[in-house]
């Protein structure tokens, strides 16, 4: 794996543009998923992701194989996306003190019957309403299957904070789902 990465990077640095296209195809999913947690607008998202890969290309000579290539690319993507959104939004909201509070107001109370939807989509909608840093941590951990250490390296958060964010977000989601399950015992 590391040898593959090393060979790919060497090829790119030697000027092989096809190799860079291979790299983009390999990591566009990771970058896309992560940036999408910070930027909602589709056009802006595509542009930010393109800029991330331009930055990766320009900085590739600095990559020293001290971490996985995916971690390094994800770090660039995270910082770039944060900078892109910083001007317009207050990024780092916290979860409401009352985890079951209204800040994550979702459709659950508006739905007359929960049969209209399913738990799966409901959880994803809830995740979508979480503060961005929670969404990023959840995505990197559960979708990209990264370790606490890797997530910490990407986001610049201490490992303890990463664990705490995961714990709090999952607990909040569980409480919401449990409430629905109690209301709709058939689910």
């Amino acid at each position: 794996m590391v040898d593959d990465e090393r060979a790919l990077v060497t090829e790119i640095l030697a000027g092989n543009m096809n190799a860079y296209q291979v790299l983009i195809k390999k990591y566009e999913r990771l970058v896309g998923h992560m940036v999408a947690k910070l930027i909602d607008n589709r056009e802006e998202l595509e542009e930010v992701c393109q800029d991330v890969f331009l930055k990766v290309y320009n900085k590739l000579a600095e990559f020293n194989f001290q971490s996985k290539l995916s971690t390094w690319i994800a770090t660039i993507a995270y910082r770039h996306a944060i900078n892109a959104t910083r001007k317009n939004r207050h990024l780092f909201r916290e979860l409401p003190a009352d985890n079951e509070g209204d800040a994550i107001a979702l459709a659950d109370d508006r739905l007359t019957s929960f049969e209209e939807t399913d738990i799966h989509n409901y959880v994803l909608k809830l995740v979508d309403k979480l503060p961005p840093q929670y969404k990023v941590v959840l995505t990197l951990y559960h979708v990209e299957e990264m370790s606490y250490e890797e997530i910490g390296a990407i986001t610049g958060m201490p490992e303890g904070t990463v664990k705490n964010y995961l714990f709090r977000a999952r607990t909040m989601l569980k409480e919401k789902v449990k409430r629905i399950m109690v209301r709709e015992p058939g689910l």
């Binding site: 543009m17 860079y20 296209q21 983009i24 195809k25 566009e28 999913r29 896309g32 998923h33 940036v35 999408a36 589709r42 998202l45 595509e46 992701c49 393109q50 890969f53 331009l54 290309y57 738990i119 799966h120 989509n121 959880v123 994803l124 995740v127 959840l138 995505t139 559960h142 979708v143 714990f167 999952r170 607990t171 989601l173 569980k174 409480e175 789902v177 449990k178 399950m181 109690v182």
Partner: protein, 129 residues
């Protein structure tokens, strides 16, 4: 908190005790692990490559400008050095005779500037109205 942590850990490891909490966590974990829908266009890689080519083209154009600037600066320096070292004095010919009419040149310059100002601030403004 400790209980909650251990429930999360157990469910994550696939050891569910079938309690309400565990079942809710199972649903949460299943949803969290699901692959999100693709967010980037199918031509994303090609778009990046195109942008990269444009960027490289701009870079080479920029370096050409920089080199041209360096070339001009070096030529000027060489010219100045040559003038100083050789003690070259240009022969201005008939222009030497005009040296005594400095005030005429100053008036001419000031008059042209004045005409430009009048044209810009009065005539063009009125024409626009």
């Amino acid at each position: 908190m400790k209980d909650e942590e251990s429930i999360q850990r157990n469910v994550e490891q696939g050891k569910s005790d079938k309690s309400a909490d565990s079942i809710a966590y199972e649903s949460v974990f299943k949803a969290l692990r699901s692959e999100p829908t693709s967010v980037l266009s199918t031509s994303f890689a090609s778009s990046v490559m195109l942008k990269l080519q444009q960027q490289q083209h701009q870079k080479s154009a920029r370096s050409e400008v920089v080199w041209a600037g360096v070339g001009i600066a070096l030529s000027l320096l060489t010219f100045v050095a040559a003038v100083i070292l050789t003690g070259f004095r240009p022969e201005l010919g008939f222009l030497d005779a005009l040296g005594g009419y400095k005030s005429v040149f100053v008036f001419g310059g000031a008059f042209i500037v004045l005409l430009q100002c009048v044209d810009k601030f009065l005539i063009r403004k009125k024409a626009a109205i």
